[in-house]
Symmetry: C2
Subunit: 468 residues, 2 copies
């Protein structure tokens, strides 16, 4: 890219331009260091990078005005949800303005008849489900963190129950988006499906704030199941656990959640969450349905487990036991962090065809052993997606480099096995090279040409997704 | 668009250019009138438009060579699957070359462990399911016609069991695509999900051959259910039938198929397929699962039906009865055609939020009555998607105009109700104005700018999707 085409820091903008911005946003623009630091994208193992100012938007019109201002002056603009992304997706690597959407937290419409709702981008998934609690419906996508719907859309998030309910890709019906120049569009309708023109919704889902800024999200809602049963089953081998899930999927078992924790992760969860699970590769499962259909699913899965070396299977049918189990799963990150004093965490993910999942994990475990790296593995096994969590001892000068080696080899192998460098974390800063390895330069050039036509001055979250 | 930028007919190409093309394709290029007529996109109510030549591709490399040739000389290029599209999607309105992909019918890989398969674009869904018949897996998307996987991808097709298994949007994992200039890319991987970069797969799915030519398709496969039970239930009112489906979805009933036929369609099916159903608004349903879970679903749905004015519910548990039922549903088009001697058929579709479906259909029925237009209505009611089938008497000079009025009003109302001008037929020639009404000019301009950057000479299926 020519230097003349690079976006420019806010610091180079003329005084009257800044005055104009202050005129628009008043007290809703801040240049304070602490505020900028909070918006520097520090989550995860990447170094943050401070923006030069933070603007708090309250309406789509606010976002449109700010985008037009930035577009005209070529000032970087980085949209923020809850800030829970893990690949440096929010670092202001070229300065500019962080756009905080957390005040856009209105639930615009819940439509129980048509099973959808429309929310502003700053609504979190927990707030949405709280709002839905008396409707008999719920929004299932659960990436663990209490992310915003805008951020989850921008990252193409998924999580533990994507195996049953799909990812954000499958659940977003439409987005309201502010384009780079401030134009406002709706990408779709409230209809459950459409074949009217190019799929703009899917283009923005997963674009990480680089093609436009999502200000409203319309998502599908799902009926709350009659009954929920969860449980755990430990396997003699990790391969056996994965083969049991494959056999279950082939038989059409509608797992609502099916999570794999390696024996090291089980040890960490036992210590952190007061569980007393056997330290073996273990599946945490959940079934949704009626009592009868769940009984059938459990029985069928038991029979399949026995063919694949199950060591124990425990059903948690009391709500408090189920809750304890999923709390332990959701705090796997903190359980791993607690393994090393003052650890800095690095969480990476890949996703492979499920038939290659055991091979992919076992080879990563072999790398960990060979390099002497401490890490745990948790996987959304029904999707072929798994995470390696590195609790990095910052006192150890080699720790980051070793984790990087494990990560890079895991990514290369995932791609060689027909998989992807990231199932749900996105590219951000961390996987830009992997993007090219995965898609090839022609496909990445196509992505770049779309970026170029939609954001000609490269002001929307610059420096992300594409290698420099 | 400037005239100088329009694609040019093949007839204006130099003799040596044509000789070059003959040199590449030999007997696999035809200029014969009968062959060109077969590729003029005559299906449906639109007038066809003949291409000037037809090329039969056997490999992705063939397609790449042809695309590069057309790109360089600005000659229109129109990719053909089975030719079953309904909105003039294939008419060679600016002449040029029809690319017949039917010889690309190899099944490249069936991967039962990872629940996916890769096929060449010319493989039909029936051929694929025939190949899968001993695997315990199936490919569920069923638009009625025996379309090709390439065509179904390009049209973002769905059909009767999208309510359970999703549309092509949800089932295509990756595509091999030849871009306008002949570059070959893969849009995704074999992983069940990814958040690596822009969703190129979704961009090509539904692009109707205007952004690139799909030569290979990788789709998800699903486990064959233990048991399948189908049946019919007649309702006193169409509104009651729709409300029963909404209540069922809210309760989480996993309908595999849930189709609505209006009383006139029932009459047509009775006559054409030898059924003896009561002439009332009727749901055709299908459940997939175990015997026990299906019994539960049927019982629950019966109870819901009783709250919404069900008049009768009949379960077809014998395979031959089930088959008769779905054959009748799949031949609804021909049953309607048989209502008028030598009828020309026009099949249109819209999709609305399901809570608005009854209103949308009832107002369309009122239009039909008011204008004295004969037509039947069939709907994928679980998706809010329905079709109006007009059996047009070509001897009646007003018949087309009246059908057009009904269609236009139905499309306008669908959009006003938060829906889309087409749920599964695509835009083609027929709904180009509706595209703008639905998305607004800013969103359509964005689509056009993507088209422009990906196909700068507008050679890929020119004249489609966008208004002139």
């Amino acid at each position: 890219m020519n230097a003349e085409l690079l976006p420019r820091p806010l610091g180079e903008a003329a005084d009257e331009a800044i005055a104009e911005l202050r005129g628009i946003f008043g007290t809703r623009i801040s240049f304070a260091e602490t505020v900028c630091e909070q918006h520097s994208g520090l989550e995860g193992h990447h170094q943050g990078a401070w923006p030069e100012a933070v603007v708090y938007a309250e309406t789509t019109q606010d976002v449109a005005k700010l985008a037009a201002w930035c577009h005209q002056r070529r000032i970087p603009l980085i949209a923020h949800g809850a800030g829970t992304s893990l690949e440096g997706n929010l670092a202001a690597v070229r300065g500019g303005i962080a756009l905080d959407l957390s005040a856009m937290a209105n639930i615009v419409e819940v439509n129980a008849d048509s099973l959808f709702c429309t929310v502003e981008a700053g609504v979190t998934r927990e707030a949405l489900n709280q709002e839905l609690r008396h409707s008999g419906l719920f929004f299932p996508i659960d990436p663990g963190a209490n992310a915003t719907l805008g951020g989850m859309s921008a990252t193409r998030a998924s999580g533990t129950n994507a195996v049953r309910y799909g990812t954000m890709r499958n659940n977003v019906l439409s987005l309201k988006v502010v384009l780079a120049d401030g134009t406002i569009i709706d990408t779709g309708t409230r209809a459950p499906k459409s074949s009217a023109g190019y799929d703009l919704t899917a283009l923005f889902v997963g674009s990480e704030g680089t093609l436009g800024i999502i200000t409203e999200v319309t998502v599908r809602l799902h009926g709350l199941p009659d009954m929920v049963v969860a449980g755990t089953c430990a396997f003699e081998s990790l391969e056996g656990a994965v083969r049991a899930v494959i056999a279950g999927l082939q038989c059409g078992i509608p797992f609502a959640r099916i999570e794999l924790l390696d024996s090291r992760q089980i040890a960490a969860c036992n210590a952190y969450s007061g569980l007393d699970l056997v330290e073996l590769p273990t599946l945490f499962f959940e079934f949704h349905g009626t009592q009868q259909s769940i009984s059938e699913q459990v029985e069928l899965f038991k029979a399949i487990g026995e063919e694949h070396g199950v060591s124990s299977l425990d059903v948690a049918d009391r709500a408090e036991d189920r809750s304890k189990l999923w709390k332990a799963r959701h705090t796997a990150y903190f359980a791993t962090k607690a393994m090393v004093p003052n650890a800095k965490m690095w969480s990476t993910d890949v996703c492979v065809p499920i038939g290659k999942l055991a091979e992919s994990i076992l080879e990563t475990q072999a790398d960990l052993a060979r390099l002497g790296v401490l890490a745990t593995i948790v996987g959304h096994v029904g999707d072929g997606n798994y995470h390696v969590l590195f609790p990095i001892d910052e006192a150890d000068p080699e720790a980051f480099g070793k984790a990087r080696t494990v990560n890079d080899r895991m990514v290369e192998r995932a791609i060689a096995l027909g998989g992807t460098c990231t199932g749900e974390h996105g590219i951000g800063l961390g996987k830009r090279t992997a993007l090219v390895l995965e898609h090839g330069s022609a496909a990445v050039s196509l992505m770049a040409s779309i970026k170029k036509v939609m954001d000609p001055h490269s002001v929307l979250n610059p420096g992300k997704i594409f290698p420099d």
